[in-house]
């Protein structure tokens, strides 16, 4: 009589045999792949050394006047001299601590939310959404609590870019969610039609047009004495515009949720809002994290369009510095700097979204 003997557990086989093995397996495993690898190496050889030469080796780093630039490579002196303006616009230097404090407060509010064991998350989150905007408003605008009033026309640089981007994102996501839910409300045809009309209207118009309308046309329609802050108008325009895009992204997520999830939530008696908030949205939003972040990144870069209505965001203030007669001919350095700053933020968002997706992954589907 044979008895069945279970096999002892073995360690998994090693997947690669050192760096050389990896190279052979991944870069030269076929003639075509090998040729592609060599071609890529050649292109890198053509592009990288001159770039490094220009940006780092032959570049000028110290000085304070355009005469300090040797013109052999990049002249980062230009950026250094104008850095304050690139970061804060014309926000008075003596008051810039208020901007720094606002950003530091934001970090202080947000960081604990990432600590796993932190217990008061709900309260902190609520404070972030309710208390923080009020504090930030008073800090930045001033005119109260003994702070000097700083007109929004003096705001600029990276600071202004961040204001528009953050306000746009924070407003666009919830608005977009509501619009998406409204668009799917089959049993409320009027609401549905309104949401569809809103989304299609805003999606069909370029952002530049929206900004023009908000700054040039709107004052015609409003009563004389009603003066709306230019920045505020741009913020509203950006938020509504992006919410239409966000709505379609979220709707895609809602469509990806199986009918059974709605039925199970209904069968438990959760009702529409609890089912939506507790069961449907967490799954739908997780499904479309890439789409949401994509929209956020586009929004972040779109903020540079406010230049057109005379707001000097990061790109706008660099543009302005380029036309300074003392510093003619350094626009490339300016644009490279702008590109790097935009890239750092956008790449950061991208990495964060990947981390979030991995964190929220809860095993295989179904």
């Amino acid at each position: 009589m044979a008895t069945f003997r279970p096999h002892a557990d073995l360690p998994p086989p090693a997947t690669s045999s050192g760096a050389l093995g990896w190279v052979r397996q991944n870069l030269f495993d076929s003639p075509v792949n090998g040729a592609m690898t060599l071609l890529a190496l050649y292109l890198l050889y053509l592009a990288v050394p001159p770039l490094v030469d220009w940006a780092l080796i032959k570049a000028d780093w110290s000085g304070s006047r355009s005469e300090d630039c040797s013109k052999a490579g990049a002249c980062w002196v230009f950026i250094g001299v104008r850095l304050n303006q690139f970061l804060y616009g014309f926000y008075p230097v003596a008051e810039q601590w208020r901007v720094n404090l606002t950003i530091a407060l934001l970090v202080a509010f947000v960081l604990p939310l990432f600590i796993k064991r932190f217990v008061l998350k709900q309260w902190l989150g609520a404070a972030l959404l309710v208390v923080y905007p009020i504090v930030a408003y008073h800090l930045l605008v001033g005119g109260s609590f003994g702070l000097v009033h700083v007109e929004t026309s003096k705001w600029g640089g990276l600071f202004l870019t961040l204001v528009i981007a953050v306000v746009g994102m924070v407003a666009a996501l919830p608005l977009g969610i509501l619009l998406a839910l409204g668009r799917r409300a089959e049993n409320m045809p009027v609401l549905k039609a309104l949401c569809v009309a809103f989304i299609e209207l805003w999606r069909g118009v370029p952002l530049i047009t929206v900004l023009f309308m908000s700054s040039v046309m709107l004052p015609f329609f409003l009563p004389e004495d009603m003066s709306f802050d230019k920045l505020l108008r741009a913020l509203i325009g950006v938020a509504l515009f992006e919410s239409a895009y966000m709505a379609e992204v979220v709707r895609g997520g809602l469509q990806g949720i199986p009918k059974g999830q709605y039925e199970a939530a209904d069968a438990l008696g959760l009702g529409y809002w609890r089912a939506t908030v507790l069961v449907i949205l967490p799954q739908a939003l997780k499904l479309v994290i890439p789409g949401i972040v994509n929209t956020f990144i586009a929004l972040f870069k779109d903020t540079s369009l406010v230049l057109i209505i005379g707001l000097f965001d990061l790109l706008g203030s660099i543009q302005a510095a380029n036309s300074d007669t003392n510093w003619l001919g350094f626009s490339i350095e300016g644009y490279v700097f702008a590109a790097c700053v935009y890239w750092v933020f956008c790449f950061g968002m991208s990495r964060y979204s990947q981390w979030l997706e991995a964190k929220l992954h809860t095993g295989h589907k179904r």
Partner: protein
């Protein structure tokens, strides 16, 4: 077996004059567009009764039990659950859904929540039970379906049979007066069917009112007080299990039984 039959026939016999029924369907009709799915359904289920519903695919079994918690809307007739009539009134619908648990063919657990959170969700948000107590009660039900050790895992990490038992526990956490089952074992491998059926038998023994769409005839014979056979959107035959299986009255029932018993 014999006691089950005795109570079964008693319930059937006394159905007309018994007190308030748990579930009452009177002349229920339903259409999908022009397609007449449910035709004049009359059904009365007493407290603690166990009903098994069977019939060929497309006969309207799912549609009927989904009308009982208003996942589907009926267009004619009356459906009354524990004294509450299902109408367009959202308040009534939510009231009924709180008292009626449902288990689906494909489990429909919430994949973003742990097993424990799945179970505690509805008690916390619908019954307003404090989290700690809701979780304690959830653990009790998870023990009852014999998987307390999985409480902190996610549904995606469990086998089908385990998921279905969690789905049963999740419904039980709301302390429902009625449990509806729509083919709870037909998406499962044979090995797992038994573990789910065992849980359902235990539930039946505890006196729960149950309506169960299933083709598990062994289960029907052990626990059902009545077996209902549906075809073409109608209730064709209705009897206690002994009589139903040994002496079916209608030709269609005979054909159906010969098909599922001989396959």
């Amino acid at each position: 077996m014999t006691t089950a039959q005795a109570t079964g026939s008693a319930a059937t016999a006394g159905a007309a004059d018994a007190g308030a029924a748990m579930i009452e369907l009177q002349g229920v009709h339903k259409w999908y567009g022009k397609f007449h799915v449910l035709k004049d359904i009359n059904l009365r289920v007493g407290k603690g009764e166990r009903i098994v519903i069977c019939g060929p695919s497309g006969s309207g079994k799912s549609t009927m039990i989904r009308c009982i918690n208003r996942l589907e809307e009926h267009q004619r007739g009356r459906i009354v659950i524990d004294g509450v009539e299902l109408t367009g009134d959202v308040k009534n619908i939510e009231k009924v859904r709180r008292e009626v648990g449902m288990v689906f063919q494909h489990f429909n657990l919430f994949p973003h929540l742990t097993i424990l959170e799945n179970c505690a969700l509805a008690p916390m948000w619908v019954r307003k039970t404090p989290r700690k107590r809701a979780e304690e009660e959830a653990m009790q039900y998870l023990e009852r379906v014999r998987i307390p050790e999985q409480a902190l895992k996610y549904p995606g990490q469990l086998s089908g049979g385990q998921q279905q038992r969690v789905a049963i526990a999740r419904s039980l956490c709301m302390c429902p007066k009625v449990m509806l089952f729509d083919e709870p074992t037909s998406a499962l491998d044979p090995e797992m069917i038994k573990e789910v059926l065992d849980v359902m038998v235990g539930l039946a023994e505890s006196g729960m009112t149950m309506l169960c769409v299933t083709h598990e005839m062994g289960f029907a014979k052990t626990v059902a007080d009545r077996v209902i056979f549906m075809d073409g959107g109608e209730i064709i035959e209705e009897n206690d299990p002994e009589a139903f299986f040994s002496n079916p009255q209608q030709d269609r029932t005979k054909l159906f039984l010969s098909q599922i018993l001989n396959h």
